[in-house]
């Protein structure tokens, strides 16, 4: 019987338990296949078909090959290739939020981990700066709209102080709208980055700092010659995951501008573009845009994957069943 064989040799024991490995991972894979993998292929499949609604009539689905992709990259009547415009918007707003996010996070991580500075109240500071990361983006964005619109309190403060005219409108200029979106993204993410970079710095072997100091390095040299190079993997990981997050930018600009990307679609992001086609049920175009975004995230995700799996390449002697 099974039980008897099990007692005889270790090798057979491993064979007997193998089926449990499959049983334990089945729920994950069944759900993943049904709710993610099949929809992913369906999305790609749709990108080769013409399917949309023209008024009340349903057009398609008709196979059109790569026509949807061609349409995505064809300039519209005003001569702009819309996907490139929205990609540029997304990129500009991401950079505007991410640069201060990483600079400040790096500074704070150094402050918090410095023995010389010995910052008190770290728990409080970390709690406050991380807080916006958990706020519902849609609600945060709605809050910004209520505060910054022409009837809102920010306008009132600035007018009272004579800094702006009553006729000023935060939602009429690309710099202010993009600025608000970048500010929200910055506030939502710098605390998170600070905490991750801090953990990275604290993970560095303390003796390296000590020997560098003994060898006569000053704190600037220690930072650039010891801390920064050793922190690089985590920094790059943070940066790329932040990029992947940036491509997904949707809730904040969608709610802030009511899906319009004011002014003149200059704050409209890639996912807002996709969302528009999904709502209009133009599945062909939505499919093509989804595939393009999938390719971009795939490239970035590939880098993250290589970094994470590098951890597992180190030979590990561990007994497995």
């Amino acid at each position: 019987m099974d039980g008897q064989n099990q007692k005889k040799t270790g090798k057979q024991k491993a064979v007997n338990y193998a089926k449990w490995g499959y049983i334990f991972i089945i729920p994950f894979f069944v759900v993943y296949i049904i709710f993610t993998l099949v929809p992913q292929f369906l999305t790609i499949y749709n990108s080769f078909f013409e399917t949309y609604r023209d008024g009340l009539t349903q057009i398609g689905p008709n196979f059109v090959g790569l026509d949807n992709y061609r349409a995505v990259f064809t300039p519209d009547s005003s001569g702009t290739i819309r996907i490139l415009k929205y990609f540029a918007n997304t990129l500009i707003m991401w950079v505007a939020g991410a640069v201060p996010q990483f600079v400040i996070a790096m500074l704070l991580a150094i402050f918090f981990t410095s023995y010389r500075l010995n910052i008190k109240g770290q728990g409080f500071f970390k709690t406050v700066i991380y807080m916006p990361n958990l706020i519902m983006a849609a609600a945060f964005s709605m809050l910004f709209f209520t505060l910054f619109n022409r009837a809102g309190p920010i306008q009132a403060i600035l007018v009272q102080n004579g800094m702006i005219d009553q006729s000023f409108d935060f939602f009429a200029y690309k710099i202010t709208v993009r600025g608000m979106i970048a500010l929200m993204n910055f506030l939502m993410w710098f605390g998170n980055t600070t905490i991750v970079l801090m953990a990275g710095i604290m993970g560095i072997d303390q003796s390296l700092f000590e020997s560098a100091t003994i060898d006569g390095a000053n704190s600037t040299q220690v930072f650039f010659k010891v801390t920064l190079p050793l922190l690089m993997p985590i920094f790059v990981y943070c940066l790329i995951t932040a990029m992947i997050g940036g491509i997904q930018m949707f809730d904040v600009p969608q709610v802030l501008t009511n899906g319009k990307g004011v002014p003149d679609e200059l704050s409209r992001t890639l996912i807002m573009y996709l969302n528009g086609y999904l709502i209009n049920k133009n599945f062909g175009m939505a499919g093509a845009i989804s595939v393009i975004i999938l390719i971009i995230t795939g490239i970035l995700g590939g880098i993250v994957y290589r970094m994470l799996s590098a951890q597992y390449k180190a030979p590990k002697q561990k007994r497995k069943y």
């Binding site: 991972i25 994950f28 993943y32 369906l42 958990l134 983006a137 709209f145 309190p153 985590i234 994957y305």
Partner: protein
Amino acid sequence: MNKSEKGRLKLMILRVIVYIILIFLCVLCLFFFYLMVINASRSNAQLSSGFTLIPKGHFIDNLVNAWTDASINIPRGMLNSLIIALVSAVLTTYFSALTAYGIHVYDFKGKTAVFTFIMAVMMIPAQVSALGFVQMMNKMHLNNNFLPLIVPSIAAPVVFFYMKQYMESVLPLEIIDAARVDGSGEFYTFNKIVLPIMKPAIAVQMIFSFVSSWNNYFIPALLLDKAEMKTVPIMIAQLRSADYSKFDMGKVYMFILLAILPVMIVYIILSKSIIRGVTAGSVKG
């Protein structure tokens, strides 16, 4: 002044600058939410009369008005969001731990491939398969149903990865051996011995998945259009697209406050363990 005194003075100035920067950032983080709370305590007339930093006495009025609003049923939305977020949090942590355990403890053919696959798809966002997902759910008549928002949480690669890493650091395989010797079945071992050991990881991931589900807007907005099925983020977006000039602004601030309140309460109670949980699961240096 000698050299060490100079150094001490320099350090003190540096410290003051650092505290000023920290306080400034904290004020920046709290300022907008402070305005929200203040404005949620003012009547519509007070709000249109200008700006103040002092709370007024209409908090309860606004709360009652928002809670009983006819067009935006916020109590229903909060209940819907709560159901989806709670069930998702339980499912995602249990099944991620189960999957991680299956790969961590057992040796089977294709195990490396399975692990590689999960790692490879980890960074793919839900938006790029949303089209096929929404199409499928519509065909299965599962739009205006919570199942498509709950069941997919069983397969969460990021949570899986976190659990896997946690197991590697805290779960000695000898315990499982010992349980087997005592005649414990495989599922019994997982549920009664492994899960209690995993408690800290499960708690942290439950909080994170609760929060991300509570805040999720993109997919629910594509699936739920019946008023009584809507979740909080959809209602907030609805507030934005409504005719703004007719709104009682005190009520609007109260809606926003209610939308973020449950997460804030959880955060205030558990901020320490939440912040500790942020770093786990990322690249080690």
